[in-house]
């Protein structure tokens, strides 16, 4: 299965780290943006199957993106990747419609486990 992926994180390092551990040949379209507003702009114009979303970001943060997507009934599979490792953060993003939560720094094992869990591979 090939899919279209959007990575949204303000850190270049975090974007590259994730890009590097994505399963080879899995994403046939990979877009990278650096804040929530840019993510929404992409989501309005390009068909995205899976969004990897950071939480603390300038301009528009990840919580706000989730709320906007929920309010506008944009049904996009979203996995949050964040350094906010409080259990409450995971609960909040899942309540706001995210599929799952992966803590930073992300590992390949954690990513694959979550992708398998949601049958995304």
């Amino acid at each position: 299965m090939t899919i279209s992926i959007l990575i949204c994180d303000d850190s270049n390092m975090a974007r590259k780290q994730l890009k590097r551990i994505l399963p080879q040949g899995w994403a046939d379209n990979l877009l990278l943006v650096k804040n929530g507003q840019e993510a929404l702009d992409v989501l309005c114009t390009v068909k995205i199957d899976l969004l990897f979303l950071d939480l603390t970001m300038p301009v528009l943060d990840g919580f706000s993106v989730l709320k906007i997507m929920q309010a506008q009934a944009m049904n996009i599979n979203t996995i949050v990747i964040s350094a906010d490792i409080q259990s409450e953060a995971k609960k909040m993003v899942e309540a706001a419609g995210a599929l799952d939560f992966i803590r930073k720094p992300i590992s390949e094992d954690a990513l694959i486990q979550v992708l398998n869990k949601h049958n995304l591979l």
Binding site: D10, S11, N12, M13, A14, K16, Q17, R20, L55, T56, M57, P58, S82, A83, D84, I85, Q86, E88, A89, M92, R103, K104, P105
Partner: protein
């Protein structure tokens, strides 16, 4: 910003992300202390060389009254890869509110304020340093914290001789709990050799990606 250290954009970005991970760990520890969710904000970092330290800190920390706690850190006792001193600076701290968050019933005396300062700075400093250490495959040891100023004006901190290091990495942190937010700055003061070592590690990380 005037760093004089030639941090590349990548090095800066990586350092910021590493600090971000440290701050997330500190937020987790604070949420346990406060028994509440702690809202994190993006930490902003600056790398400052000693010659610009005082004017830069005055710009970064405009608070009238600050309190500060210092703690030494090092990777090895002899010939450490990285060593230095961290100073956690609290701006215009409302101790009454912090005491409420921590659920302290007693009257907020000077001594209780000291306990609060030591406790919170220890959490922030410890989590941030361990987050950084983990990312750069090191381990930091710390000396016990001590208070170097309690509700003083910033000039009184900056004039002290303990700011005699080559460089400082300043990390501005803001945590909000419920309707209350508190701000602090974590300064990691380091000699030239430690900053160069850190830059090499950042280059290696960049090369791996």
């Amino acid at each position: 910003m005037n760093s004089g250290l030639n941090f590349t954009e990548d090095q800066r970005d990586y350092l910021q992300e590493i600090c971000n991970i440290g701050m997330g760990q500190a937020g987790q520890s604070l949420s346990v202390l406060f028994e509440q969710y702690v809202t994190l904000s993006v930490p902003s970092i600056e790398i400052i060389s000693a010659i610009n330290l005082v004017p830069t800190l005055k710009r970064l920390i405009p608070a009238e009254k600050i309190s500060a706690v210092r703690q030494g850190f090092y990777t090895h006792v002899t010939d450490p890869n990285i060593c230095g001193e961290s100073i956690t600076i609290f701006s215009n701290t409302d101790f009454e509110q912090l005491a409420q968050l921590i659920d302290l019933d007693e009257e907020v005396t000077f001594e209780v304020e000291q306990e609060i300062l030591l406790e919170i700075s220890n959490i922030i400093n410890g989590a941030c340093l361990s987050g950084i250490a983990e990312q750069i495959s090191e381990r930091f040891f710390s000396t016990p914290p001590s208070i170097i100023g309690q509700s003083i004006i910033i000039d009184n901190l900056l004039n002290k001789e303990h700011l005699m290091w080559d460089h400082a990495l300043s990390i501005k942190i803001q945590y909000s709990v419920d309707k209350y937010s508190f701000q602090c700055d974590l300064l990691l003061l380091m000699p030239d050799s430690s900053v160069k070592y850190l830059q090499n590690v950042l280059n290696r990380l960049a090369g791996e990606l």
